[in-house]
Symmetry: C2
Amino acid sequence: MGVQQKKTIELNRLSATRAAQLLARRELSAEQLLRACFARIEQREGAVRAWAALDKELALTRARELDRASTQGVLHGLPIGVKDIFATSDLPTRYGSPIYENHQPSMDAAVVALCREAGAVVAGKTVTTEFATFQPGPTRNPHNQAYSPGGSSSGSAAAVADHMVPLALGTQTAGSIIRPAAYCGVVGYKPSFGRSQRAGLKTIADSLDTIGGFARSVDDVALLASVLMRDRELRELDYDAKPRIGMYRTSQWRHTDHATRDAYAQAASVLSRAGAQVDEVELPPVLCSLVQVHADIMGFEMAQSLTFERTRHRAGLSSSLQALLDAGSQITAEEHRANLVRVEEGRQRAHSWFEQYDVVLAPSASGEAPFFDQGTGDPLFCRVWTLFGAPCVHLPFYTGPQGLPVGLQVVGRSGDDRRTLAIARWLLNVLRPGEGD
Amino acid sequence: MGVQQKKTIELNRLSATRAAQLLARRELSAEQLLRACFARIEQREGAVRAWAALDKELALTRARELDRASTQGVLHGLPIGVKDIFATSDLPTRYGSPIYENHQPSMDAAVVALCREAGAVVAGKTVTTEFATFQPGPTRNPHNQAYSPGGSSSGSAAAVADHMVPLALGTQTAGSIIRPAAYCGVVGYKPSFGRSQRAGLKTIADSLDTIGGFARSVDDVALLASVLMRDRELRELDYDAKPRIGMYRTSQWRHTDHATRDAYAQAASVLSRAGAQVDEVELPPVLCSLVQVHADIMGFEMAQSLTFERTRHRAGLSSSLQALLDAGSQITAEEHRANLVRVEEGRQRAHSWFEQYDVVLAPSASGEAPFFDQGTGDPLFCRVWTLFGAPCVHLPFYTGPQGLPVGLQVVGRSGDDRRTLAIARWLLNVLRPGEGD
């Protein structure tokens, strides 16, 4: 009964995996855990502002139900944050936009319902940028409130980093999971494209939008993903080989700061010493040109996906989003088709290129988080991987000169999610030893 | 001013293309056209039951606005039917399910908003089967009410066939556009996968759901599609070569009735005489085995997409859908991944196979529509094409022994939508000469 003797406030720091074990053994109650998370939220939310909607009584009612019930699934009793771009039947869903100030859906998004089916307690909705694009919400970086948490999954990354919840849902269309994970110093996982059902997600770019999540360890994020993708193999991350790692500076290396370069050099050296095969690699140059192709595909699709808002509620859109949609509207279907052909060629080249390496290790962002009033940062280092539908895992293991987190992303071959997560876990254990409960 | 002298009741039979010309020249008003369509609806809806929601006053208000405004776009003043699987901000959206009896979304689906931006008047919502799957709605085949209109886009196909509206939106996950088009005797077009944004569509299988439409001619359906896909090239369907046609009985030929076999033989002979290169072809046998793979991928994805309904409103689901979702829940992620690999291989083989032919001509359905009380028919002849993401156009040109429509579908290479539509137009002009206004 050791855990029950701990102060309530510390339960919120438990990993999801550990808490799930204690909950399953009934050594911890869902209500206790939720109360600890809400105590943290109440203490810190004024500074961090991670939440777009909270309903403590609703969550407590659900937690007590779970405490009375038999174990529902692998998330039984775990509090989660849900990015406010997913529909929830019992919490408002505003998409980070004043247009939807009073919007209450009648249903849960598919992944929210899957998490609930597996026993999760939705603690609340987390802040998203406007329609998961670039206009920031109110969320601050939990490590230093002068800085941005990144976007678009700002609240989910911040809430997990600040120990408000162990798990949170996010989405990535450009760099909306990996970048906030990097700025907030948590593990972010963007699965291969197409592995979760997006029903009830406010989609903005059908060929890019990908559902993923945040946690404080690879095991935890894989636990969540195993529910989102209904794939129990994602909970089996044993890996006892020595990975072949392609260290890749990317064509955007000139944009990296010293902290990222130091983290990169440290990773190369530490991983080598741990027995990994570490090679500096280059991708075929044609693939680098796809950064702009990603932006154009996203622009073309966004201008259509947000047609209702663009035509009927234009004044409710930020001026920067208006400009993005106007630019996207200028892209012709002919240009778009040519872009899709380039992507398909690129995907196939990347796919065969990956046969030489188990994973690529590359920057997640240019460096530490920008100041809050400078926006949520640039998805530059994520666009091509998202375009290829590759699984990406951000590994937080370094601290920059401002005292903010820095790390790198592991990129796997599209479809190789289990192996990518297993290697990510191996790498993080080497890069950040001794963490865990 | 010839058109204005016609009886109001006849305007509803105008093609979309012809009506759009008259509307643009202000020789026809949107209000006149809409009133003609509503006169037809009022006359026939009791028998056909194509509509899930109608609001004549709302539509008339919009038509009068358009009559006062400058021309908005290529659909200016054209009434359309919207399958009740798309969200509409001003009409209820029930997805063919009692669970959503009182559901009123706050937004228009992206494609509805695009049609409205182009000047379309939404006449109402058309009947869908339950969540666009198999449980029939009330719609009857307009040619003979003892028969099914097909599904899942039942109301859209029936409304267009019965001259209630010139254009209607549909979706296809298995055979939900091509099959009802075949049974109702209209042109149905399922575009290449991924060419329209699905925001606001109630998706059931993210890797398959495809937005398309219905009309009474290829020109008309291409006009609609040019808005859905924001691709003006789809309105340029001139084709003056002689197409190379692969006539393909498919591995399901044993399920075809005499009417389909007669239509097939007639097409081969008529098209040959018109100068087309007509070869009987076989696809690699491995591709035929993908019929079951399609069903399994759809089942796996549906069981997730409809998790909220499955877990929270199970009693509101038909027993047949409950059984489908239960079966889909039994498919493991490992099986699903293996299926995706087979599809990818199949797609690539099909893609290179298509280099020998401009299009494939194949059955759309086993034959004439089944009796109403026998369900909406089987998507057997559509599953593999949907799985490959290929553009498909149903061509109605034959009448079976029950007096019901029969035809064949044109299948193009994925991405070749313009050429597929252009050849479909050429073929229909040969197979059904002298139609049009």
